[in-house]
Symmetry: C2
Subunit: 197 residues, 2 copies
């Protein structure tokens, strides 16, 4: 943790932090390990000690993204008085989180990332899915669409969430739908997936 001029002292975290900034500015294709090195005043070989490839760096960002998205969803559910309301809050929170954390979300969604099949990444995704699944299960137990299979309901809900996140976090596409009042529209879409009680 010391900062001699030779050892950075906190390079791993610094790389992740700067990478998230860069991702938000120029996207996955514009991110480069060497660029990060320059930004942090470190040699081009240094990142390799922490991330053996660009894919591994992106995986780490995706993993942290899942952690934060899960936390955001759980926090939004707190204090709600019914499982249906909790699920609705989680859906809203997920879409909002994606809009406000494009950098993380772009790492999560990048198909070229998952192929590097980080174990930790898989675990984080599993955790997220477990939380989501429990919420769907509880909502159904409370009377939401009792005739449908839980698996179908979960994929339905998650698909809508993912799609909405993509649409709302892409300025370009958003414009194609006309002017969007994001907050109201998100609420209305949540209503369509899980009608309020």
């Amino acid at each position: 943790m010391s900062q001699s001029s030779y050892h950075h002292g906190n390079l791993r975290e610094a790389l992740l932090e700067r990478a998230v900034e860069v991702l938000g500015e120029v996207g996955v294709e514009g991110l480069s390990l060497r660029g990060l090195s320059r930004d942090l005043g470190v040699s081009h070989g240094a990142p390799a000690r922490h991330f053996s490839s660009k894919g591994e760096l992106l995986s780490a960002i995706a993993k942290e993204g899942y952690r934060r998205m899960t936390a955001a969803a759980l926090m939004a559910a707190e204090g709600k008085t019914s499982a249906v309301e909790r699920l609705r809050a989680m859906g809203r929170a997920s879409v909002r989180w994606a809009m406000r954390n494009r950098a993380f979300y772009s790492a999560i969604m990048n198909p070229d990332v998952n192929r590097y099949g980080d174990e930790g990444l898989q675990a984080s995704l599993q955790d997220y899915l477990a939380v989501v699944r429990a919420a769907f299960e509880a909502a159904q137990a409370e009377g939401w669409k009792p005739k449908h299979k839980l698996q179908a309901l979960q994929i339905f809900g998650m698909a809508t969430t993912i799609g909405a996140s993509i649409i709302f976090s892409d300025y370009l596409k958003s414009n194609l739908f006309g002017e969007l009042n994001d907050e109201k529209l998100i609420d209305e879409i949540i209503d369509l997936v899980i009608p309020p009680l």
Copy 2:
């Protein structure tokens, strides 16, 4: 159109065709103009005459993808006897098309592509959206969720379609939900978005 050894004769189409193959195998990051040149037995500078950058090539693929997806949706709607059934068929067809055309879909979804803001690409997307919008409008006029705003319904439906396409076309993620019977699940999800009459 002749094939002297100097002029390829059909390079633009050949590049697109091969690029789609490569995209399906190794994804956007694995696609390279020089690799395509090698595959086609052409010099590394040749593609520049047709696509001034990798982004432009991807844009062209995305554009063609929109065209085909639109065609697939319209074809699926043919012969259906109600607007609701047409909309349901279009949703099913879109998800199936994405599953069967991952290469095109990965170009369509790649956020780093759209930034190159091809005019033609924008136009194709507009065409697709116009077709979709008309279908949603007709379904609503027929009694589907009359109390909701058309814009919200369209984004809801498209979001679910996009999300389902992503989930179903990703082997890795599919496994996380347990074994998926894709066809049946897609049908059930369509039912959840647009209940059958």
